[in-house]
């Protein structure tokens, strides 16, 4: 112990070797981000869409969840996710020109229309018990996607009824009540939802884009302020900002309206949050020490939303000078997340209930495919430098 080589050199070197080793394993493992290509991402999205439409039921509903280990379909369904899946199929049809996806989205829309409840001047799809703001918002977006793709005003009345439902549910501070009970015809005044405001924000923005003279932007601005300034506190988000990809879509849609500083500040913080999550996910290998320290990979309905969010924020950064300095970094992180999605998808030559899907612990849920599809499509567009989200008609 007294020899100077030991005291002065060996011990500090040993100490720091241990510390650096721990830092490498716990904080900074390798981030495994390959350079995926737009074509690869679009192919992956098409395979995921095929899972959705090949397994669609005759009534227009989708396979909600599938357990490949037991070959079982849990008895559950979710209208909000049905609307989201339908939206993603219209996106595949619009951006990738896939007719099978369009047909499936039309059947999904018919299912939603069959389940509409109307009161006064508003309406929304119900699960039999209630009408949720999230369902109405995502159905609005799905129909807006269809309108952008086809140019048809076929569902304009339904879009307006859905928008009026969101207006009825909106609070004075710009937030939202969550649902309306069909049996009692009462609003739920107690529960809150972290993500419904972001969904409504995008939906209201899409309504204003579709019907610019009807004042939907007023509601959208109120929602934008709520989401960027109040929502995280109201929802007691422990580490704000909430990773809300819907809000990212909304603000990207509103970019040309002229956002306020609080909106772009929020967008910057949101990009950092998605980036942190994607980096963390890219460090996982699902084996050995990584599994112990980092845990399992997240399901693609989580990873996909982060990629969606980054792709949307990239579009926003292309339109708003205040975010131009982070544009390249945002797109690079979106690419990293999209590559992770492409790597984890079940490949071809598998049964129809597996090919094109993402499984965690042998279970896939329809929104695993939905969020991955949207993230992959818009990341591919970003890598091609396409800042416009809407389809080319």
């Amino acid at each position: 112990m007294s020899h100077p080589v030991l005291r002065i050199i060996a011990l500090p070197v040993l100490l720091w070797a241990v510390v650096l080793g721990v830092v490498r394993v716990v904080i900074a493992p390798a981030e495994l981000c390959a350079d995926g290509t737009p074509d690869e991402f679009r192919d992956t999205a098409l395979d995921a869409a095929a899972w959705l439409y090949l397994n669609q039921r005759d009534d227009g509903s989708y396979v909600y969840e599938y357990d490949r280990a037991s070959d079982e379909f849990p008895d559950a369904y979710n209208v909000v996710r049905h609307a989201g899946v339908t939206m993603s199929l219209y996106q595949v049809a619009g951006r990738l020109g896939d007719e099978a996806s369009f047909d499936a989205a039309e059947r999904g829309t018919a299912w939603l229309l069959d389940n509409m409840v109307y009161r006064d001047n508003w309406g929304g799809p119900t699960n039999g018990t209630n009408v949720k703001v999230g369902s109405a918002a995502l159905m609005t977006i799905a129909l807006a996607e269809r309108r952008l793709l086809t140019g048809e005003p076929l569902h304009d009345g339904t879009m307006r009824a859905l928008g009026e439902f969101m207006r009825v549910q909106q609070k004075e501070n710009g937030g939202f009540f969550t649902k309306w009970f069909v049996a009692t015809e009462m609003m739920d005044l107690r529960s809150t939802s972290a993500y419904y405001p972001g969904e409504a924000l995008w939906a209201l923005a899409m309504l204003h884009e579709a019907f610019p003279d009807e004042g939907w932007d007023v509601d959208a601005w109120e929602t934008a302020d709520f989401v960027s300034l109040l929502r995280d506190d109201e929802e007691d988000v422990e580490f704000p900002p909430l990773n809300d990809h819907w809000a990212a879509y909304g603000f990207a849609e509103m970019a040309e309206w002229g956002l306020e500083d609080q909106h772009t500040d929020y967008a910057r913080r949101l990009a950092a949050r998605f980036s942190l999550f994607i980096r963390f996910e890219a460090q996982k290998t699902d084996e050995g020490m990584s599994l112990q320290v980092r845990g399992d990979s997240r399901r693609s309905s989580a990873l996909g939303t982060w990629v969606e969010g980054m792709a949307a924020l990239w579009r926003l950064s292309m339109s708003d000078e205040r975010l131009a300095d982070i544009s390249d970094e945002i797109l690079e992180q979106a690419r990293c997340g999209a590559e992770l999605l492409a790597d984890r998808q079940v490949g071809d030559n598998q049964p129809p209930l597996e090919s094109g899907a993402w499984f965690i612990h042998d279970v896939t849920r329809m929104d695993d495919q939905q969020h991955a599809i949207s993230g992959l499509i818009y990341t591919a567009d970003g890598l091609d430098g396409r800042g416009q989200r809407e389809p080319d008609r």
Binding site: I8, I9, L11, L15, R24, I27, E31, S275, Q283
Partner: protein, 182 residues
Amino acid sequence: MTLITLLLVLNLAAVAVIWRGYRDWQARDDALRVGTVVAGAALAGLVAAISVGESVLDALDISDATFRIAAGAIVVFGALQAFLGIGLRHELASRAWLIVASLVWLLAPPGVVVAVAIALDDGVGTAVGVALVAVAVALTGAAWTVLMGERYELAVGLLRRTIAAGAVFGGVDLIRQGVLSI
């Protein structure tokens, strides 16, 4: 903030503690000669780290943002080490060992990672300039406290702990930067 953090992690008072372990100081010129050698070697080491830092991060598949979080953790650990004085007290029998002990401290991971973080943010030129200033401040401060004599032992210890506490904040700020980076 990161520039100040480099000054804090090199911790002139910690260097002073090492230098006070050498009992055969003869004159001001003696300190100047040792200081010049240590400064040259430390600066060369930091410049080398700054030059290859980005390549090493690429080879290890570590993004800049994650590196900042890791660097912050390393700085916090180094600050705790300096605060507690772990590995700082040596009875140094020769100038050669004095130089080696000084370099082991100055080229420890906290200084290296902060210098690399500065290079990632502000470029290699700025990082080299800041490293030059930080090394000069650390060694000048250390020489000054040594030449002040034994009666300032308590003051040097307090200064070391105060600077180390400041370095903790520097490390936390690096972690914050990493979390908020894209």
